[in-house]
């Protein structure tokens, strides 16, 4: 069963790169790769670089910024493959960002 682990945090508080944080993420990814549960994942640039696109009645509307203005924004994601929700929760809790942001666990809609 695949899950998307969406990493959300307050962009105004977590900025740039920080060696300790980078190292923590690398360790997490190493561990999950070794356990063969990590399918993929990326860090995303902050929402200051986001563009929102909508097509309404055939017209494309382009807007600056994320689709929703909230305090916590999606900052990255992982896709993991594990047995069940308990497995996904256990992995989510190990993402370094769980200690300062939040991780939304969403099952992938398998066809």
């Amino acid at each position: 069963m695949r899950y998307a682990l969406l990493i959300c945090h307050d962009e105004t508080k977590v900025v740039g790169t920080d060696p300790a944080r980078t190292q923590a993420f690398a360790a997490f990814e190493d561990e999950m790769t070794a356990r063969a549960v990590l399918v993929g994942g990326e860090r995303l640039r902050p929402t200051t670089s986001a563009t929102t696109v909508r097509v309404r009645d055939g017209d494309m509307v382009i807007a600056d910024g994320p689709f929703a203005e909230t305090k916590e924004q999606i900052a990255g994601f992982y896709i993991v493959d594990c047995e069940d929700l308990d497995g996904a929760i256990e992995i989510a809790a190990k993402i370094p960002a769980a200690c300062y942001g939040s991780i939304e666990v969403r099952p992938v809609w398998e066809i």
Binding site: M1, D84, L85, D86
Partner: protein
Amino acid sequence: MGDIADVQAAVAEAFRSEWGRVVAYLIRVTGQWDLAEECAQDAFTKALERWPRDGIPTSPAGWLKTTARNRAVDRIRREKAGDAKLREAAMSALGDEESRFDDNGIGDDRLRLMFTCCHPALPVEAQVALTLRTLAGLTTSEIARAFMVPTETMAKRLVRAKGKIRDAAVPYRVPPAHQLPNRLMAVLAVIYALFNEGYSASAGADLVRQNLCAEAIRLGRLLVELMPDEPEALGLLSMMMLHDARRPARVDAAGDLVTLEDQDRRLWDIAAIGEATAVLDDAVRLRRQGPYQLQAAIATCHAAAPTAADTDWAEIADLYRRLAEMVPSPVVALNRAVAVAMADGPEAGLLIVEKLEQSGVLADYHLLPATRADLLRRLGRNQQAEIAYRRALDLAPTDAERRYLAKRLAEV
């Protein structure tokens, strides 16, 4: 041929003892919650038709399980939609009746069901509702009535929770050892919430609502039966039984709450108190202290006192001290203040109350000024007591409590 009334009683009895078992078994083998409930329901309906004609089977439990299983086989066979592989897996699991996949040394499906219903990934109100529906066998409209929400709202809540269990793959198992302590606390919290909901129901309230206490105690018993070495499960059961034993004395003829101090102790259920005390003894023997055991111990102190004046307040104050260390809650601290005041005098209690007031955490909680007022009254500081009673009256949430406080205010 049995007497109709006898047969109906036998079906009702089987429903109480077997519903949860049949549903839990069918969920495990089919993985489909709705199907499990519907097939269990069909089996009980069939029992009502068949048993008067054929007699009550020697093993009602076996009869019900087989009938429900056959119904599930039928339904799955006729199902056109859905995943063929899943269907095949369910069919083979249903065929192998004695298949007992057991990953944790705990074989009872009802325990798996309990942990899944009380999974922290589900909203708390859904945990409570699912437990009542699947384990206790209450209908959706009964649960809705018990929680005073429209049936439609409750139905949606149940559908959503079952949908999440399915789509997010909430596991159907007793959690592994490293997760067990936390997850067991969630199960205990659901049972306790159920009990509190029933306990707070007034005497005039819907019977279903009042029955929640009995359902909670039944689930508590089941949990203790399935996990006999969990002291907190025993502690919770003991505490619920002790509170329930006082129920006949809790409300007066006018429907007003009677405080513990003023209750007619002859109305307490002595047999239940005896059993609850024995349950707590079992818990204590396991030598792992916990908040439910401490609360049960406090309730035992009250239950053991022939009159309010005989209460061992020093022991209760000490139990509250230990409880406050474990559960740093301001409400526990307030209760401790009351016990300390009874044991060591009102000034000692007042000190704790004042510390709580300074922290500001219970600023809107009427029992804080009410407790302060009582202590001041006992110290003869009537003017200050009056101010505190008025403050409590402003904050009191129910008429019964306002009447009680007004009575006290008139006395100072």
